[in-house]
Chain length 253, copies 2
């Protein structure tokens, strides 16, 4: 935890009192003492610092913090994600990793090669997946929770929902190792929002690619090497971020 996150309802008169795993973390991992200042933030709210005003170092752990919160959350990340629902164990890691990298909205969708059972995972309950989003925020010192939306049927997603969505984006990218565009050619500069679609293990089927194309998505590749979905998502996110920065620098050279 690089920042202690709290719900807005937990803050009373600029005071925050913790008695759960966060208190334990402050005592046992951070080994903090009265008077220490820690990074604190309110989920979907301000960031700042908390000074420890009281501390119970033995079980049951308890920590009280006097808060000074004045920094706004990090800016809305320019990238939103459409992701063919991965296996739950991979989804946990992906949710916290993309949240750490920065993402606005994550659309989890169905695809031919998504196993049906994945849609029954307990992880798809908001109180479950939110934990993994929070881990990503705690890692990256951010307070802005990504929005997660579930689309368990492909056709209604692509035919009915997508047309109302795509207008918000300057770049519509479909990741596909066989894609005819190189990512470097598809992402030219720093302005405008990006919607990136990443397929399941085994890839999109041709019908799905065709449907995305009809919505205006460009099929992009970052190289010949076939990557697992969890590796590919991070690599694509980082590549897009780097290419936008590079394109922008080019304008000033």
């Amino acid at each position: 935890m690089n920042i202690i996150l709290a719900e807005a309802t937990e803050v009373v008169d600029r005071q925050l009192t913790l008695t759960d795993h966060r208190a334990e973390h402050i005592v046992k991992v951070l080994r903090a003492a009265i008077g220490d200042r820690l990074r604190v933030g309110v989920i979907n709210g301000l960031r700042g610092y908390g000074s420890i005003s009281a501390l119970q170092k033995k079980y049951p752990f308890s920590v009280s913090l006097a808060l000074e919160l004045s920094e706004p959350p990090a800016e809305l990340p320019p990238l939103d994600l459409i992701l063919a629902l991965p296996r739950p164990i991979m989804l946990k890691r992906v949710l916290s990793q993309v949240t750490a990298l920065g993402v606005g909205t994550i659309h989890l969708i169905n695809a031919k090669r998504v196993e049906k059972s994945f849609w029954e995972a307990g992880l798809l309950q908001p109180q479950e997946y939110r934990l993994h989003l929070q881990h990503g925020l705690e890692q990256a010192v951010d307070t802005r929770l990504p929005e997660v939306r579930l689309h368990p049927k492909f056709k209604p997603f692509i035919e009915d929902f997508c047309p109302s969505l795509v207008g918000d984006y300057r770049y519509l990218l479909l990741a596909d190792p066989a894609g005819e565009h190189r990512l470097v050619d598809a992402v030219a500069d720093k302005s405008g929002r990006i919607l990136l679609a990443v397929g399941p293990e085994g890839g999109w089927v041709e019908y799905e690619v065709q449907k995305f194309r009809e919505q205006g998505f460009l099929c992009c590749s970052i190289g010949e090497r076939i990557l697992k979905v969890d590796t590919a998502i991070i690599a694509l996110h980082a590549s897009i971020t780097a290419l936008r920065e590079c394109g922008n620098r080019g304008n000033h050279r």
Copy 2:
């Protein structure tokens, strides 16, 4: 497995007979039949195809393949890695992920914030870590195994070994969220090899940063957000690859 990998010693008269987990994978996951052609490669050798000439579909599984191997391995990746030894469970994933992305040599080194117990992990035995490198090759359809070198003491590594190493590289990069260079400014174009150093969870200590600086490393950041080591390595690898491609395109614009 996107390619079936074999040791050179397993190939006899252009025939390969498998009776282990690879045979089981071909039968149960690929559901292959006699006459099917599969991607096959020899570790550190040629890639090509194997046609199934015999198949035992029930336990004990057995598959015989007639090989046509003529493609050279993928080119030596332009990036080598210095990595502060991560926790074994993370190292497993990192080894297969960076192998899938492409890496020449991986130097695993000690650092102040590396837990001593990590050096006792069974995973550091060659026959153990090689499995995870192979998973990366099987994923990325490559046959070139990265080299792994262990350096359990920091000072001899940086003072005695590093000076003989750095001459091979055009770019010496130390990843550090507080680094004074943006990666986009440090990696200008596509030529020359890169040596990238990534620290432990919690980061390098100032002494270590200083020692790397003395060897000519530039301290580079890919942004404000603090990432876990496994996320950071993939993001850095992908960013460097994208920036080199971008720089190279820029020359032709």
